[in-house]
Amino acid sequence: MSEYLVLSGVLIVIVGFALRLNPLLVVTLAALATGLLGGLDFVAVISAFGAAFNDNRYISVVWIVLPVIGLLERYGLQQRARSLIEQIRSATMGRLLLLYLLFRQITAALGLTSVAGHAQTVRPLVAPMAEAAAEKTHGELEEDEREQVLGMSAATDNIGLFFGEDIFVAIASILLIQGVFQSYGYELTPLQLSVWAIPTAICAFIIHGSRLLWFDKRLGRSSGRAGQ
């Protein structure tokens, strides 16, 4: 039974997120509890936590784009993104995000995962464009609808990235799958693995793509205003 004690960290995380406590505190408590219950001493847990934090600095390095994005926003980039979309007659939110989904899947499949992202493209360009396109067809958005449009812009970036990147042979997840199978004596080439990411990529495009077009239709209908 005692081996299940290490799962208490998982419980702390779930309860902490559910109670909306500060996530940094929740994560730290979970790490300390798990480490101590897993038989490590206090210093060893802190050291392991610190070492892993340090090894993963590359995740936070992307914030160096903020000064450029902020500077361009100061000079009206978001407003420009909006007015560009307003000028394109055929542009709707659904089509715009569909196009972005395709772009993100294809670039990720070529291994270019850092080319776009939430800080680089979604906040300054995609989200304001999607919002402007939605307002063009559906009129002024209610607060909750606006949140959904912005949330959908970020969601589209994630889905395009996740279900594109594994088509690229040299991505970390492909190498991990290869490594795990190798340790059990199965020799797989990266190419063998990456081709099997294609069926799911197509499913992802169809599912999320239809949701985007449907979301666009539904948006105006809910309150029966504007657009007509």
Binding site: L7, G9, V13, R20, P23, L24, V27, T28, A30, A31, T34, G38, V45, I46, A48, F49, G50, A52, F53, N54, R57, Y58, I59, V61, V62, W63, I64, L66, P67, V68, I69, L71, R74, Y75, L77, Q79, R80, A81, L84, T107, L112, V115, A119, Q120, V122, A127, E147, L150, G151, A154, N158, F162, F163, I177, V180, L188, L193, W196, T200, A204
Partner: protein, 316 residues
């Protein structure tokens, strides 16, 4: 050779400047909290590699303390008003997109050139991090172009960067913290316990149920860890290899590739995948921190079902 360390120095410089301007910002009642938080991150970027693991751990605990006590505030450095921005966007027109595009284009074209032409043989960049390093290079080029063209006040890039950084706040380090939590989980053997539970519920002889448990296990375990990479080795060892491949004779390449993607469906549904789900909610200033997850669930669940069917029909 240009390595990841160069990027860390660049990030260290940016965070030092955020910290310094925070400390001088008298309009922000919590200015010293902000200065300390971004300052510690600057220290982590500059010196993290030289500090001992324990010192890094203490640094993290102090970061958490500052955020947990609520010492981190949101600053509002002077900037242009909405009316001014509308006017400026008219004045500069679509050319405003060009500097924004410099960053992705540098990363895109640079990576292609580096990987598919002899330039790559020069060994200028650390191979593993080429795109990320080029992203950093793109930022520098874009910054120079912006300053030369728009002639902003001297401190404007840092002040505007600080405004965005403060709007993200503690969420900026959450992904890194969760990655560290994942490492502690791994060290304490959390994965093996979960894998043992998953392996224990496999019934005899039913391939479909085994595939179902493998994929659901990947998704659920990924939701707990925030990362399919942590789930994969465990679920492959508990179910994928012993049951699907060895006992039922499934194709390992299909089970491996699509199993990982079943995990990615879990990534879409968990706050633990903070950099994909929580950080963009902060970055887009959504009211609900779960606003992005909410829009993803209806894609993730049918896609998970597709993955289950794909493995079942393709691998056997």
């Amino acid at each position: 050779m240009i390595t990841l360390d160069w990027l860390y120095i660049l990030a260290g410089i940016a965070f030092s400047l955020f910290s310094l301007l925070s400390a001088l910002d008298q309009a922000n009642g919590k200015r010293f909290g902000n200065a300390a938080f971004w300052g510690l991150l600057a220290i982590s970027f500059f010196f993290g590699g030289m500090l001992s693991d324990f010192a890094n751990g203490i640094l993290v605990l102090v970061l958490v303390g500052i955020a947990g006590i609520g010492w981190l505030g949101r600053s509002d450095p002077p900037t242009t008003s909405l009316e001014e921005r509308l006017g400026l966007s008219e004045k500069f027109g679509n050319r405003l997109f060009l500097p924004a595009l410099i960053i992705p284009i540098t990363a895109f074209a640079g990576t292609i050139l580096y990987n598919y032409t002899p330039i790559g043989d020069s060994g200028v960049f650390e191979t593993r991090w080429v795109t990320l390093i080029l992203l950093g290079l793109g930022v520098l080029i874009a910054l120079i172009v912006c300053v030369a063209w728009l002639r902003p006040p001297l401190l404007a890039p840092i002040e505007e960067g600080r405004r965005l950084m403060d709007s993200i706040g503690w969420a900026a380090v959450l992904p890194q913290m969760l990655a560290a939590l994942g490492a502690v989980f791994a060290l304490a053997g959390v994965g093996d316990v979960i894998g043992g539970i998953a392996g224990g519920v496999i019934p005899d002889g039913n391939v479909f149920v085994a595939v179902l448990i493998f994929c659901l296990g990947m998704a659920l375990f990924t939701m707990i860890m925030g990362n399919a990479f942590a789930a994969f080795p465990v679920m492959a060892a508990a179910i994928g290899i012993p049951f699907l491949v060895i006992e039922y004779g499934g194709n390992p390449a299909i089970i491996g590739a699509i199993g990982m993607l079943a995990g990615f469906c879990g990534t879409l549904m968990t706050p633990m995948a903070a950099n994909f789900n929580i950080v963009p909610a902060a970055l887009l200033e959504l009211k609900s921190q779960y606003g992005v997850i909410r829009m993803q669930v209806a894609t993730a669940i049918p896609l998970l079902a597709c993955n289950i069917l794909l493995i079942y029909f393709l691998a056997f």
